[in-house]
Point group: D2
Chain length 278, copies 4
C-alpha cells in the first residue's frame, strides 16, 4: 500500500506540502497512521506541471525511502507548481525500482495509485493482453498500478476519464472472476491531464483505502494560521490526500466509498463509481 | 551490448577471474576492447553454484558500474565456486535496474546474454505472448534477454537446450520478419543447469559479437605463470568469455560464427547453430 | 538508533537468524518494537568470518532498507558462518551511504553500534583529533560509530578491549563536558576479532538502549522446537541482540545497565563497565 | 579525474548545454576525449541558481553514471537558470557516494574541481586541521575537493577569492613538501557566489588538466547555427568547460597554464595564479 497527494491551485513550492505540515507526506513515509503499512519506504515520486508552461509534466522518481532523499528535498525547495501529484510507495511484491515508482506518465497525463490487484502475478498476463498493443511498449515497469493506467488509457481515459476507469475496474473484476480470485481490486487513484484532477475510491469488497479532500480553503486557512503559504492560496485551491496532513480537523472530508471526484475550474464534481461490464 | 564470462572446473575464488587478470571482466566494465561500447557500466551480476551443494544457484546483481561495486569485490573474495556466470551490462535501451541485470535465473538454470533484439519495443508483445503462460509471472524485468530466456524454457531448454534455443531464435526472426524488421537477432548466450554449460554465438546478419573459449588448461597455465590459481585447476576446467582476459595469446579460441558449444564432463562439444522454423 | 545482532557458535546459514525467526532482524528494519525508531531503513550490513578460514571477515553493506534488499537475501541463503555481526541502521543525522553502514572493519576486527553521541557535529573535530594519526586514513565515512571504533583501536582495542572501550567512553564524556554537552554517550556495541565477541551496554544518563543475550542453548531449543536449526547448535553457541528475536521468552537475558560481556570458549564473562579518565 | 562545466548568462534550460550539444557533458561521462579517464561514471551533480531569486542555489547530486540518470534528464528539461555548475565524477579513490559528488555548496557558494591531491590519504589529516573549526562540521564527504573548498573558505574565499585559493594551494604544497610528496596538486576549479564565476587552472608540475572558455557569443552563434538556443543568448553569456562541447572550433580558448579567470558583468578578467606561502 502507498500514500499519495494531489494539489491543484495557486502555484506553491512543493516543500510547503511535502515537508512542512505536521504529518506531511514525507513524514508518512516513516509513520503512516491510516495506511495498511506504517512504513512506505519503497520509493517516492513527484510529477509536476511547470508554472508557466503547458505540455508534459516533469517527473522525479527514486527508489530509496522518501525521508532520506536529499535530491527530493532540494527539488521540493526549488520548484513551484500549480498542479502536482506526489506518491510514496510500499511495494506489494513487485521490485523496488524506479520504473515501478509513481506517478506514471503518458503524454500530458499522470497517474498515482494506492492499493493493489489481488494475485496480480496470476492475472497480469490477461490484463496486459487487454492493453492496446500500441500502448504496450510504453509500460516500462512491472506494477499492477502501471497496467491499470494503461488499461484506462486503452478505454478512453483521455476523452471520458470516469467511464474509462470504470471499464478498467470492470475488466479487472471480470478477469479475476474467471481465475477464481475474489475481491480483486483495491484502489484510490489520482490522475490528471494538467488541467483537471480525477480521483477514484473503490474496492471490490467495499472497504476501500482512505482518501480525503479539502473543499474549503477559507476553513483550511483558519485552521492553519501557522502555515503562511495557505494565506496566499486561491479559493479554487484543492488538495486530495490518502491521509490528512497536520491536524486540520474539520478541513478534511473523506471521499465516500465507491465514488469519484473531479477537481476543476468552477464547481468540483462528486459522483458514484461503479465498475462497467465489458 | 555487454560482456560476460562463464567458468566451469576446479572450485576457484570468483575474484581470481573477475578481478585479478589483466583485462579482467571488471576492467572491461570501463575499458572493453572488443565490445560495441567501451563502457559497460549499466549493472553487473554474478550467479554461482555452491561448492558443496546441489540446487539453485545464488545471485548477486547490482545496478551501478562493476568497477566501483564494493560489495561485489567482497563477495568475489569470500566466495569460491566450481561453476559461475558473470555479466556486465551496457543497456540497449531498457532501464538500468536490478531486475534487468544478468544472470537471469529459473529454478537451477542461469542465463546471460550479450547482444540485442532489434526494435525490441515493437516486437516485444508478440514475443511475450509466445512464452508459456505458466512462465509469464517469472519475468520480472523488461529486457529482451529475459524474454529470450523464457522463450527458450518454453521451447524445452531443460530437456533439449540446443533445439530450444534454435526455436527461440527462429521465433524471433519470424516475428521480426512479420513486422518488417531485418536482421533482428544478435546474441552470444551462456546458460547452465549447474552441471553443463551451453553457449551460443549467432546473429541474423552473420556478424556476431565476439566469443572465446579456453580449451587447454595446460596451455593456459604455461602462458600465465603469474596466476597461481591456474596451477591448481583440473584439466576439465574451462572458461568462456566475450573477450579474452589478460594477454593469453594462443589460449583463446574464437567460438565460430553460428555455432554452439557444450562444456561438460568428458569431451566438450561444438556444433552448428541454425534457427528453427516454428 | 539502530538494531544489531551478533552470533557465535556452530556454523549457521545467515538467513536462519536474519530472516527466519519471528521478529527477525530484517523484520525489525520495518517494525522494531523496542527501538527509539520503529523504522530502521537507512542501510544494512553484515560482516562474517568464513567457515574454514582465518583472517579478515567479509562485508556486505547497502544503503537501502534491509527488508527489500534482494542481494542480502541471496547472500544470507548462500552463506554459512560460525561468527557474524549484522546491523540495520536508522541514521541520527549523518548521510545514508555505504561508508556509514555498519559493521565497520579494521584488519580482523568488526564493530557495530546502536546509539549516538549527542551533538556529534560539534564534538567531532576534537574526537577525531584524538584518533591515532596512523589510523586517520582508514576512517571512510562520517558517523559517530566509526569514530568510536577508531578511538577504541587507538586506545588498545586489539590488546585490552574492555579497557580501550572504557577510555573511548571517557574521552567522549570529557570532550562533551568541555563543550557543555550533557549526557553525551548512548551505546550498545558489539565487536569481535573473529574469535571472541565483546559487547557493551552503556549510556551517560544511565538509561541505555536495550541489549539481550542468550545464555543457554538447551533452553533456546526447548522454546523453539519449530526452528530446526537450533537442534544442531553447540552448547557454546550464543546470540546477542538489540531486541529479542521471536517470542523466546525465558531465553533472553537483558545485558545489565553499564556492563560488558565477553562471549568466548569456556565460560563467558560479564562485568561492570565504567568510562575511564584520560 | 572529472569533467565540469560552468554557465553564466541568459537563462537557459540546463538540457540545452548538458544534453544537446555534440560531445555534451553527459556524452563525456561515457566518452571523454581529453580526460585522463575516458569514463566519468562515478557520479554527477548540478548546482543552479533560480531564474528569479537570490540566495542559496539548489543541488542535484547522484551516484550513478550521468548517462543513465533519468532524474537528471527530467530536471535538466524542466529547469532554466542564469548560472549553474555541472560536474561528472571519476573517483580517484574516495567512495562513490552522494556526499562526494560535486558541486559542493556552502551558503550561496558552489565549487567544482577536476584533479586531485596526490597521496591525499596521507595528507588529509593535516589539511583538515587547517580548516576553520567552525567550518569543520559542514564537510560531509571524504574527497580532497571538499577539503580544498573548505580551506579556501577558511582563507577568505567569500571576500578575496583569488587570494584565498592561492593560499589554499600554497598550504597543500607546503603540507605535501613536509610529507615528502612531490607535485601534489592538480586542479581546475570553478566556484561562484551566484553573481560572478571564478575559475582556476593550476598544477604543481605545471601540466594542468585542460580548461576552456568561450569568450565571444557572436562567434559561438556563427559556428553553431544548429543550436537555436545560442541565438537568444546575451553578449555577456559565457561558458567554461573541461573540454569543448561540440566541434565549436575557434570558439573555445584554453585557459592558460597557472592562471585564473573571472566571469562577471562588464569585462572579464584573466590573471596569473601562484600558490601563496602561509
Amino acid at each position: 500500500m502507498c500514500r499519495w497527494l494531489a494539489y491543484s491551485g495557486t502555484p506553491i513550492r512543493l516543500e510547503d506540502l511535502l515537508y512542512r505540515p505536521r504529518y506531511s507526506l514525507i513524514d508518512q513515509s516513516q509513520h503512516s497512521r491510516e495506511g495498511v503499512e506504517t512504513t512506505n519506504g519503497d520509493g517516492v515520486g513527484v510529477g509536476w506541471y511547470p508554472v508557466d508552461a503547458a505540455g508534459e509534466p516533469a517527473l522525479f522518481r527514486a527508489v530509496g525511502p522518501a525521508w532520506s532523499d536529499v535530491n527530493l528535498r532540494e527539488l521540493a525547495h526549488a520548484t513551484s507548481s500549480p498542479l502536482f501529484l506526489a506518491h510514496i510507495r510500499a511495494s506489494t511484491g513487485t521490485p523496488v525500482q524506479q520504473s515501478n515508482c509513481h506517478p506514471f506518465r503518458f503524454q500530458n497525463w499522470l497517474w498515482v495509485h494506492n492499493g493493489s490487484i489481488r494475485e496480480f502475478a496470476r492475472l497480469k498476463r490477461d490484463l496486459v493482453l487487454a492493453v492496446d498493443p500500441e500502448l504496450y511498449p510504453s509500460m516500462a515497469g512491472s506494477t499492477d498500478s502501471e497496467v491499470m493506467f494503461h488499461l484506462a488509457i486503452t478505454y478512453g481515459l483521455r476523452d471520458r476519464p470516469v467511464a474509462a476507469v470504470e471499464r478498467m475496474a470492470g475488466l479487472i473484476e471480470s478477469v479475476a472472476h474467471r481465475h477464481g480470485v475474489p475481491d480483486p481490486l483495491q484502489m484510490t487513484v489520482g490522475t490528471t491531464d494538467g488541467d483537471r484532477i480525477w480521483t477514484f475510491r473503490y474496492s471490490s469488497e467495499g472497504r476501500s483505502r482512505s482518501l480525503y479532500f479539502s473543499t474549503d480553503m477559507t476553513a483550511l486557512r483558519a485552521l492553519h494560521p501557522e502555515l503562511d503559504t495557505l494565506r496566499r492560496l486561491s479559493e479554487e485551491t484543492r488538495l486530495i490526500v490518502s491521509e490528512p496532513l497536520g491536524e486540520m480537523e474539520g478541513a478534511w472530508q473523506p471521499v465516500p466509498e465507491s465514488s469519484y471526484g473531479i477537481i476543476q475550474q468552477g464547481d468540483d464534481e462528486l459522483g458514484r463509481f461503479a465498475p462497467a461490464g465489458p
